[in-house]
């Protein structure tokens, strides 16, 4: 490179940089925020705060994801949705951090807590437990919340969900729907939260077995990942090959591969509807492949996050454990209302729907109508009994107990 060329490049560069600087400087503070209309039907369980009592000061909240992060159309996106809703309702400032690697967890939490700027720091996901526990001890005057886990610290709210209750409902559905009498569960990393899903689902399948005399075989598989969609698809294909015709996604982003596998399988066999069916998780995933996702186990992470922020705004935030079940609107099975709400949210987030909302709803209703009233009535009946406390769905946090539960129901591991 000659001297002339070098000087030429330098001049061009300086001009570019200066130009860009100049162009962006005056309007930097004035960039308008994209206005998103409030999802009207998204939060049937939230109570609107009285408009007259304005919060005394601008509350700031930081949301920290684990490395899975946004874009899973489920758990993490739901958490952020709750924060955004709180922003609109209470005028709080929310910001999120998506770590690059797990080495970032503790340093970044310390940074957030140490800045003293945040009224609440929310960790989204079980894998942040150790980091939150450690940093909460170091900053005892900082409020924390963690979704899907709890720590013994008084300044940490553990936001838990009774996934076993919601899973029981989809378990009942799965047992009714299966024609091959074989259903599968595709799971993420083996953490205690996922035992709740397992225990509830097995219970639900067993409930139908006892009621109808059907004999349903269950296979499960831990993929070891929440972020590997291709792996989820691969494992699901293995289950489909073994004849399972209802697959329960309990694997975050990995679990979207379950939906992919079921959809592709049906397309290859020229079927417009299942079975095989997939069961979605966390958000309402029924719209993603209309006709192939029979229902979703809704886990309203958004509400958990929303309530935590609301409590900070109104000064009644507390540490300790809160657990949201069917009764509290924390978990449930997707219905028409949720389908509509989540299609709207997906569109607002810039996700393209596979079809027009009207067509999706029509196809969805057609799919659901394939199954007799008895199925839906049973689900509703169990739901009411869980709410009244008449039925208690088993659950566990311990590896030994889940092993015992699997044995009790004769659940087999895929490939084992």
């Amino acid at each position: 490179m000659s001297k002339g060329q070098l000087i030429g490049i330098l001049v061009v560069l300086i001009v570019i940089v200066a130009g860009v600087w100049y162009a962006t400087r005056p309007k930097a503070p004035a960039t308008p925020a994209p206005t998103t209309p409030a999802p009207t039907t998204a939060a049937p369980t939230t109570t609107a705060p009285p408009q007259t009592t304005a919060p005394p000061k601008k509350v700031k909240v930081a949301v920290m994801f684990d490395i899975g992060g946004r874009g899973d159309l489920g758990f993490n996106d739901m958490a952020w949705m709750g924060a955004e809703r709180a922003k609109k309702d209470f005028g709080v400032e929310v910001t999120y951090v998506q770590p690059r690697s797990e080495a970032d967890y503790i340093p970044r939490l310390r940074e957030l807590a140490g800045s003293g700027e945040y009224d609440l720091i929310i960790g989204v996901g079980f894998l942040l437990t150790d980091a939150i526990h450690q940093v909460a001890q170091e900053y005892p005057n900082q409020w924390f919340a963690i979704v899907d886990s709890a720590t013994p610290d008084p300044n940490v709210r553990g936001i838990l969900f009774k996934e076993n209750e919601g899973s029981a409902l989809v378990g009942i559905l799965a047992a009714y729907v299966t024609e091959s009498n074989k259903v599968g569960v595709v799971l993420g990393m083996e953490i205690p939260v996922l035992y709740h899903f397992e225990a509830g689902f097995y219970w639900g399948v067993n409930y139908v077995e006892n009621k109808t005399g059907k004999d349903v075989q269950i296979i499960y598989k831990y993929t070891g990942s929440f972020v590997d969609r291709a792996l989820g698809k691969q494992v699901s294909e293995g289950m489909l090959a073994q004849g399972a015709d209802v697959l329960y996604n309990v694997a975050g982003l990995t679990g979207l591969g379950v939906l992919d596998a079921v959809h592709d399988f049906n397309v290859q066999h020229g079927k417009e509807f299942g079975p095989p069916f997939a069961i979605g998780v966390d958000s309402c995933q029924d719209w993603m492949y209309p006709g192939h996702v029979i229902a979703s186990m809704m886990k309203r992470v958004d509400n958990g996050v929303y309530y935590a922020i609301r409590d900070v705004v109104y000064g009644n935030f507390t540490g300790g454990i809160v657990a949201y079940g069917i009764k509290e609107g924390g978990v449930g099975i997707s219905g028409l209302e949720e389908l509509q709400a989540f299609m709207q949210i997906a569109q607002e987030m810039g996700t393209e729907l596979p079809d027009t909302p009207e067509n999706i709803i029509a196809k969805w209703q057609q799919m659901r109508a394939m199954y007799p009233e008895e199925v839906w009535n049973t689900i509703e009946e169990v739901k009411q009994k869980i709410i009244s406390g008449e039925i208690q769905v088993p659950t566990t946090d311990s590896p030994e107990e889940i092993q015992a539960i699997r044995q009790r129901y004769g659940v087999g591991v895929l490939g084992g």
């Binding site: 925020a33 930081a62 951090v97 503790i106 340093p107």
Partner: protein, 369 residues
Amino acid sequence: MRLDLRQYAKPLAESALSVLIGVAVGTLLVILAGYSPVVFFKALFGGAFRSRNAFLDTLSYMVPLTLTAISFAVAARASVFNIGAEGQMYVGALVANAIGVVALPNGVHQVVAILAAFLAGGLWGWIAGILKAKRQVNEVVSTIMLNWLAFYLVNYVATYHLYDPKAPYKTEYVRETARLPELIPRTSLTLDWVLTILIAFLMFFLVWKTSLGYEIRATGINPTAAEYGGVDPSKVISISMFLSGGAGGLAGAFLVLGRFGFITTTLTNILNWGFDGIAVSLVGRNHPIGILFSALFFALLYNGALEVQVATATGGKTGVPIELVLAVMGIIVIAVAVPGLWDMVQERLLLRRKRVEVREEAAGTVGGE
């Protein structure tokens, strides 16, 4: 040790210019995404200087980056393209974890775990070295394959043997006696940072001040000439791959003994540092001192990547998504790595031309007689 400052002026100037080019291109991306580049780059480069602890935490990222970069550089000096630091790191982490859970007295425990991880990583690297030296197996292919082997091996052992019965998604915590102490409380800066700096200088000494280092460099420049000069290239290649692997193994050991205390069964908490090390080494011109600066630069960016997300979230707008931050970082890293790569290619071309000239000259002399 006398340092000629002039020899560092050129790479420094090139790197500075490269950063500018990277920033200029990145600026366009940031503007297209609708964010202020001023806020973006201020946070990206300045996030680490926000507070004392932020800076110290940033320094802690240097540990795995420096060691995996050294793993690449030592082999590169012998003209071996080692892509295997990732796998060597997995193996080192596993061995350190396995030794960390047995009962040994404090002090001895760390030394044993670190040395064993070094040996294990070294042996893992040596496999690729000996395959190249004895059977001319391309090291790029063999190290990539060894990475996968290491991944599934560690995955298997962690899942079925070393797992924590109370939390099966990860291995058992190493005992307190095996942990490396914090240098400064409430930061991630542990004793391994000091060890890492020492290791970088040790590598400088080894490659530039010892006869083994001379043989490594001679083999790297021209194996035929080195062999003619009495060097056994196959020995040098396997030794340099052993040292490379050892450095990778240490990276894994320090992640376990210093930072985490465990590995997840699917290795999610130690993934990718080995691949990052390749870029760190290229930016640092495969030179240990250059690598230290380069690792610091990367560490600043790693801290900044998170700071950017917070800093750009103002006025009710969500921050820059991490994907965009990583894309801009990637552009800067590529821009900064280009001069180093260019030098490597130039040297190769120059050598080849000289070799051809010498051959022609020799042929000419013979013909003329």
